[in-house]
Amino acid sequence: MTARVGVVLFPGTNCEHDVLAAVDRLGGDARLVWHGDAHLGDVDAVVLPGGFAHGDYLRPGAIARFSPVMGAVEAFARDGGPVVGICNGFQVLTEAHLLPGALQKNRGLTFLCQTVELEVVTDRSALTRGVAPGTRLRIPINHFEGNYTCDPATLAELVDGDRVVLRYTDNPNGSVGDIAGVSNEAGNVVGLMPHPERASDPLLGSDDGLVLLRALLASAGARLPAATSAAP
């Protein structure tokens, strides 16, 4: 059975079609979920894609966290379902307190759209399941508010709990501990600033992002009945 991925669409989201295309390319079944709906439908994983939900007005993610769909996302996450927030989606997850910390303006105070090198730190997250720690990936970033910050105690918890998922090898935005992505304690909720869907085709310069999206589909697949029971 194909893993079904719900891609949440807020007004102002703009990377939803790119995520759909990248998931489709890997044989997943991605579908859009409207922010005004209070339920996700039958999905095995949820992606909050990049963009500018509600125009990023007030603060990125600050309004989106109150959308009706977020209650369903929270319940899905609590139930252990894989939830990945990419860029703006990461910001929404921190505002919704599904992930710790916050994203502030980049150190250089400009928007940055460029390809960066990442190192996979752990394989215990829904996004890096089965990916060897130490793996280097070239994936674009595209943000103004991507400078991850948290208090020292939280940082220690993240590091000690193996919850730092991805690090920049050459920190572009001032993120504490070079953090590009983190997870919740259980590892099923992941937020990252880089856009794996933008590195999904050699024609675009890199398909390293497929490594992460494939891992997400595997995590989603692990919840499918067909995968949890032994094959006959």
Partner: protein, 742 residues
């Protein structure tokens, strides 16, 4: 009901124009009617000084679906899809309020594109500012880039390229041009016209306020003066943009078009509702009643003329049949887009502004007169008295540089600081990113069916925008032809076949005969080049009154070329050298570059005189036909056109791009190193492929000059240059961050 002279003059109309309006109406216009004519007959809306000359441009070709005159040109891209293309200027607003001026320029060009039924998929911004030594110019440059980034990124359309140029001629009057390309299924093409008596005009989007009133007449159709307080007072004429509103408007409008709910649709840009209502009615050969009280407003107490001429951003006018109205309102509600029925299509051709459907008639004019009867001026033209003298003052006579390597480093500017601030990747189409010769994008967009399945090579389009004020100042006719040639060549360098152009004609005050001469000459140069290269002009924009403190800008026609690739099998090689490759220069036999109008003469030596190198359009066309095949063949490791900065700059840019040096001979002196000439490309070719490349080039009647070999970490050009590639890289990379921060 009489219009006194002070009123029509304050609105920007001449006495003759006011008299013409009175003749057309057979009576004196009232204030509101005068305001309608003032905005619609402004230079910005009516092209009254340039229309006569624009007629000489070639506008037709087999692939042209829609030419100039509509909101955007549309070109058949094959496979059932078409590309909508448009370029605009937002020069004057950006001079006064850089962030909002640039941001609303982006917003406006996007509406022009989705008005045609196309999903906007790429933006480009050719930018020109005063010198980096000038505080205000740096402030303008920083604000403009931030405004483009702030709006373009948030609205969700990638900005895939452009230009950034700094020169004293643009001090006080920057050029902020913005280009947008959109993709549509050929059968979804819609035109901005109202038809069907009884149909409704529904205003979508932002509420209407007092912002931007008179933008087209007060701001865009007059130059800047010495009076700082007067210029500051124009700030309220600049509109304020809201990219989130625009994003929802795009999605709502594309859904309306997809569901076939609109008969016609028109954006509200310059001249606001006055333009949108009269233009849709005039094009459709109908009239329209507009209830000015039905317009949703953001402030109380607005006069009817303010509502009709407001340039509040993020608004569209959709013409819908009454039975579709409910569904239209439903789609708008889903996207949180406000919608008000403000007009009804009528027969008879009159545009009537009403104070409530059954209220007083506030204005009653034939809609078509606002467009078709706009004045047409054949303004006096005069060649500048010093034209010959300037041409004869050849910079080749200047003392040769003591250290050409140092001059070379001084010519390099890496634009990465600018384009890093733009999302240039959204929609997963960007194959060749900004910084190359041209942007190359897969032809795909959400909601646009493709004739290529997974695994099949996609269709692609290339875009390049180009201008060169140095060339055009010396000789607007030859200079403009060179600009067209360069733009087409850029597109060919990424493997595309150039198919059409749009232009943005940035000139000074048309009431100066020398400026009108420049404009007329530039149009002739563009016509000659476009005809010879088979490039129809599918749209354009004329920006006049680019003057500041009594100085007209150098004539700066900007050309953007659309190229197509039918099957994209691999990424183009890009601007780079590969170690071990041979470095080949392709050019027409007998090429002799000139320092006249060159980057070296102007930027290093401050010498703005001389003659341009000749352009052989037949040879150029052969090069354009040759290159896409060579690039697609996959044997080249690098390709770059030789343009500004000459051979020296082209070699340096390829060395930096590949992170590899080269040891070459060829240029005998600084004239050959920095001189500029058209129809030249540099190729980085693996030794095994050299013979085949030579044969192909010879077959096109062009010469190959083998300059040397790529390798090592230094660029060595005969006895002239010996520089570390890392130093050249740093020299170019540090210019903009050093001057503009971060």
């Amino acid at each position: 009901m009489t219009a006194d002279a002070s009123l029509h003059r304050a609105l920007g109309l001449t006495d003759d124009e006011a008299a013409a309006i009175e003749r057309l109406l057979g009576r004196a216009p009232n204030h509101l009617e005068l305001a309608l004519y003032a905005v619609m007959w402004s230079e910005h809306c009516s092209y009254k000084s340039s229309r006569l000359h624009l007629r000489r441009l070639p506008t037709e070709g087999p692939a042209v679906l829609v030419g100039p005159g509509e909101n955007a040109g549309v070109v058949d891209a094959g496979g059932g899809v078409a590309v909508a293309l448009r370029i605009e200027s937002h020069n004057h607003p950006s001079a006064i309020e850089p962030y909002q001026g640039a941001a609303t320029g982006v917003g406006g060009i996007l509406r022009d594109i989705f008005t045609m039924g196309a999903r906007p998929i790429a933006l480009m911004d050719p930018l020109r500012f005063g010198s980096l030594d000038d505080d205000r110019s740096r402030w303008i440059a920083g604000g403009v880039v931030a405004g483009i980034a702030g709006y373009g990124n948030a609205v969700g359309v990638p900005t895939v390229g452009g230009e950034v140029v700094f020169d004293d001629t643009y001090t006080g009057n920057p050029l902020v041009n913005v280009l947008c390309a959109g993709l549509l299924p050929k059968d979804r093409l819609v035109l901005g016209r109202a038809t069907g008596v009884g149909n409704l005009a529904v205003l979508l989007g932002s509420s209407t306020g007092r912002d931007g009133i008179g933008g087209v007449s007060v701001l865009a159709s007059a130059g800047f003066t010495d009076d700082a307080a007067a210029e500051e007072a124009k700030r309220p004429n600049v509109q304020v943009g809201d990219p989130f509103e625009e994003k929802r408007l795009i999605e709502a409008c594309l859904q309306l078009l997809d569901e076939g709910l609109v008969v016609g649709i028109q954006d509200l840009g310059g001249a606001g509702l006055a333009c949108a209502t009269s233009e849709t009615a005039s094009r459709g050969g109908v009239g329209m009643d507009v209830d000015v009280t039905a317009v949703h407003r953001r402030e109380p107490g607005m006069e009817a003329w303010e509502v009709m001429t407001s340039e509040s951003q993020e608004r569209m006018l959709a013409i819908v049949t009454p039975e579709h109205l409910d569904r239209v309102l439903e789609v708008c509600a889903r996207w949180e887009v406000r919608a008000s029925t403000v007009g009804r299509v009528t027969d008879g051709g009159q545009l009537r502004i009403l104070d409530g459907w059954d209220g007083e008639v506030l204005a009653d004019v034939p809609a078509a007169t606002l467009h078709e009867d706009a004045p047409l001026y054949d303004r006096p033209r005069r060649r500048p008295a010093d034209f010959e003298q300037r041409a004869g003052d050849d910079p080749a006579r200047l003392a040769p540089p003591e250290d050409p390597g140092k001059d070379l480093a001084a010519l390099l500017i890496d634009p990465a600081w600018v384009y890093r601030q733009y999302d240039h990747q959204l929609f997963l189409n960007t194959v060749e990113a900004p910084g190359g010769d041209a942007a190359l994008l897969r032809l795909a967009a959400p909601g646009v069916p493709s004739d290529r399945g997974p695994g099949e090579p996609p269709r692609a389009m290339a875009l390049s925008s180009d201008g060169n004020g140095y060339w055009c100042a010396l000789d607007p006719r030859a200079g403009t032809a060179l600009v067209v040639a360069e733009s087409a060549l850029n597109v060919a360098c990424v493997g595309a076949r150039p198919v059409a152009v749009v232009n943005c004609l940035n000139f000074g005050n048309p009431e100066h005969p020398e400026v009108m001469w420049q404009l007329s000459e530039a149009i002739d140069g563009m016509s000659e080049a476009c005809r010879a290269l088979g490039l129809p002009v599918v749209g354009g924009n004329v920006s006049l009154y680019n003057e500041s403190r009594g100085h007209d800008i150098d004539p700066t026609p900007v050309v953007a070329t659309l190229g197509l690739v039918d099957e994209l099998h691999r990424r183009p090689p890009g601007v780079r050298l590969a170690a071990g490759d041979r470095v080949l220069l392709v050019q027409p036999p007998g090429t002799r570059p000139s320092l006249g109008g060159s980057q070296w003469a102007v930027r290093v030596r401050g010498h703005r005189n001389g003659r341009l190198a000749p352009l052989d359009l037949a040879a150029h066309r052969r090069l354009l036909e040759l290159l896409p095949g060579l690039v697609a063949g996959g044997t080249l490791s690098g390709v770059h056109d030789v343009s500004g900065g000459g051979l020296g700059a082209a070699l340096a840019e390829m060395a930096v791009g590949g992170g590899v040096g080269a040891r070459v001979t060829g240029p005998a002196d600084h004239v050959e190193l920095f001189g500029e000439a058209p129809t030249r490309v540099l190729l980085s070719v693996p030794p095994a492929a050299v013979a085949a490349v030579r044969e192909a080039v010879a077959g096109a009647g062009l010469d190959v000059v083998e300059l040397g070999e790529a390798g090592g970490d230094r660029l060595v050009v005969g006895e002239l240059v010996d520089e570390a590639v890392a130093d050249l890289d740093a020299a170019g990379r540090d210019v903009l961050p050093g001057a503009l921060g971060a």
